[in-house]
Amino acid sequence: MISIQTEDFDSGAEYTALRDSGAGTGAIATFTGLVRDSGDTQDVSGLFLEHYPGMTEQVIAGLVEEASRRWDVRKARVIHRVGRLLLQEQIVFVGVCSAHRGDAFAACEFIMDALKTSAPFWKKELSEAGEHWVEQKASDVARGEAWDK
C-alpha cells in the first residue's frame, strides 16, 4: 500500500500492520527518513516537499512491483509526506515483509534508493537565511544505478 499525505504517520502502528502478513513472514525491514538540520544549506528549520500527484503513486507502485519480482516480498508499505515539515519530523516510511532478512533488507533499501532518484518529489530547505531547492546528489544517483547491475 502506498500513501502520499501531509499528515504524520505512526511508525509503530505501521510495523504492527506489517506483522499481519502471514505465517511465512520471517523478517520485517523498515526505514524511516527524518528532517535533518543540515543538507545543501545549514541551520535548516524545516522542509517544503512538493510532488506530482498521480505520477508519484504510479512510480512507487512500479518500484514495489520491481522489488517483488527481484526478492521475496510478502507485504510492502510506503508512506511519503508532502507539504511543510519541521525539523526532526518524519518524511518517509518504507516497510517490507519477507521470509528472510536478506530479501527484506534488500527490497527495503532498493525501494528507498530508487524512490529518491525516480519518484517525482522535490524538497526545498527552509532556514532563517531563506529557501533553497535541494539539488539531486550524484551519490544518490549512483546508489540508484547500483541496483541495475
Binding site: G33, L49, E50, H51, Y52, G54, M55, Q58, H80, I91, V92, M112, L115, K116, T117, S118, A119, P120, F121, W122, K123, K124, W133, V134, E135, Q136, D140
Partner: protein
C-alpha cells in the same frame, strides 16, 4: 470536447521561477517534447533555462520521457528538475 491542445505542467524550482504551474498550448506547435521545450525556451527570460545548463526532466502522461518522445493532442507534458524526495 475535441481537444487540440496539450497541457504542460511545471514543478518545484521551475514552477516557481517560471511563475507557472500549468499551461494549455495548441498541440500542432510541437511534434516532440524537445520541440515543446525549444518553443517555450524561445520566450526568453526565465524560460530560456528550459534549454540551459541545468537538466530538465520530462514526463508525458505521467511517465518519464525523452526530448525525442512524440507529443500529441490531449497529452499532459511535465517539465521538472531532477527529483529529490526521500
Amino acid at each position: 470536447m475535441t481537444d487540440q491542445t496539450l497541457t504542460v505542467r511545471f514543478f518545484a524550482r521551475l514552477r516557481e521561477e517560471l511563475d507557472t504551474g500549468e499551461l494549455t498550448l495548441p498541440a500542432d506547435k510541437a511534434q516532440t517534447a524537445g520541440d515543446l521545450l525549444a518553443s517555450l525556451a524561445s520566450r526568453g527570460g526565465p524560460w530560456a533555462q528550459l534549454q540551459g545548463s541545468q537538466p530538465v526532466m520530462i514526463a508525458i502522461n505521467q511517465a518519464m520521457a525523452k526530448p525525442a518522445t512524440p507529443v500529441k493532442a490531449g497529452d499532459e507534458v511535465a517539465f521538472f528538475p531532477p527529483v529529490t524526495g526521500g
